[in-house]
Amino acid sequence: MNRRLFKERTLLIALYSLTVFGCLVLAVILATVITRGGPALSGTFLFEEARNFGLEGGILYQIAGTLILMTGAALVCLPVALGSVLFQTEFLHSPPLKKIFRLLIYSLNAVPTIIFGLIGYLFFGVFLEAGVSWVTGVLILAVMILPTLHVSIHEAVESIPDHYREAGLALGLSPGQQMRAVVLPQSLHGIITGTLLGLARAAGETAAIMFTATAFSGVRLPQSWTEPVTTLQTHILVLAQEAANPIALTNAWGAGLVLLTLVFILITATLWIRSGLEMEAER
């Protein structure tokens, strides 16, 4: 009997250490990025243009570019994801069609991000001759986050209790009215959290937009459809690869710190919305 208790305790300690180790990874990442990138941070760093190959100035337009691509991707993707989810749940009743549609979305989820870059360049850059532009980037990222948004919105819509739907139907609402009155309000949290997660994913992506949407220098805010932007992700990569000066590397870590902060804000918002709603559901 004592042996069993001993075994129980040992295993529990092992589990704790495994978990603590996992969380330590997060701490190590945070600590590294903060200690290496922290010194770069200052008012000018956040609010000035990058100059002299990343040695001087800041990352204002990199931040702007990342935000443009993220919000653009979300704005393009959200209606498509939402619409196709609604079509799938409200109109698509035939089981084989449903299955095919779901398979398509799942397979999109399995596409490695670099492939989005390849095909995106081919399609927008070569086939449509749109070249390297922020619009291309927005479209590529929108396709890339489509499965993330689709899956979380789909889950939210599917989890609407049947009695809400039936209450709406029994009042004689048409499908369009039903969507507006019941489906959308009831799945709002899923729509928001899905979008935020998609945004976080878009913010972390480098490979797919490197040569399709961004330039390293000479760009500020795009004035036309065909101009590229510059982003934090690609700025970090180019500096890390090509800068001969250690100050530029510190600036790359600084940009990394800003990017990480941006992503963490999004994820924290997601967690917050979700936990708030869970509390409401428990009441």
Binding site: V25, T32, G83, L104, P175
Partner: protein, 290 residues
Amino acid sequence: MNTRSLFPERGPAFWGTGFTALIASGTIFILFVSLVIESVPVFKTQGVSFLWGTDWFAGEAYGALPMIFGSLMVTAIAVVLVFPFALGSAILTSEFLNGRLRLMVKAAMELLAGVPGIIYGLMGIALLTIWVRDVFGLIDGNTLFTAGLLLAVMVLPTVMTLSEDALRAVPGEFRDTALSLGLTRMEMVLKVVVPQALPGLAGAVFLGLGRAMGETIAVMLVIGGIDRIPQPWFNLFASGQSIPSKIGREAAEALGFDLQWSALIALGLVLFVMVMALSLAGNLLLRRAR
């Protein structure tokens, strides 16, 4: 009966959402079709030897085997490394932690999941390669193992969160029954909960695998970048190459031209097929778990 049961109501809402659904599926369709069409030339000139060739030199020969091997190897290493940590913390979180601590661990994992690949890449160059070299007494730290380790860290949160969901999906009655028979909590977890959740756990790992296989930037910076199968093949501490890393290194150069481009797209196709097979298996297992 037939048409009515397919699409019974056709208002503006139907056409609106139908249009977006068409856009979504059309995009996906175009993606796959161009993937296939663009990779045709390399299969035409090299045949299936593209898959078996071990020599890749731009402009001369395109053999994908070292990259396929590297991808599989790195992914396998990542899974072996991630499994104990993901499972351990999932078990602890779902079975032993109370509400608040549990939320904290989950939040930490969600944050970890959001760390951009480029940051892992920076950490990989600055810390991990040196650390691996010194700990294992190697002459160089840019190895398949390093890439696998980095990937393990990257997919840990995904696998952990999904595993935790799978464990929590096991009904409480099973736990009650096991406990009422006098089992200790650990015995209950290992003998009842984990076996019950096994399909779900496997599904979590498979989905994590898919993520790992597709990672580009971080792997590219630590794997060594050499298109060669190590000698002997199970030598983890040799440099190698993974498919996304290869694409990431050569895509810009090949951009839209020549056989090299076609070969890279074909690599992408191979990668997609591999990831798709894995995630289909994973989804199948997850669904059976529910």
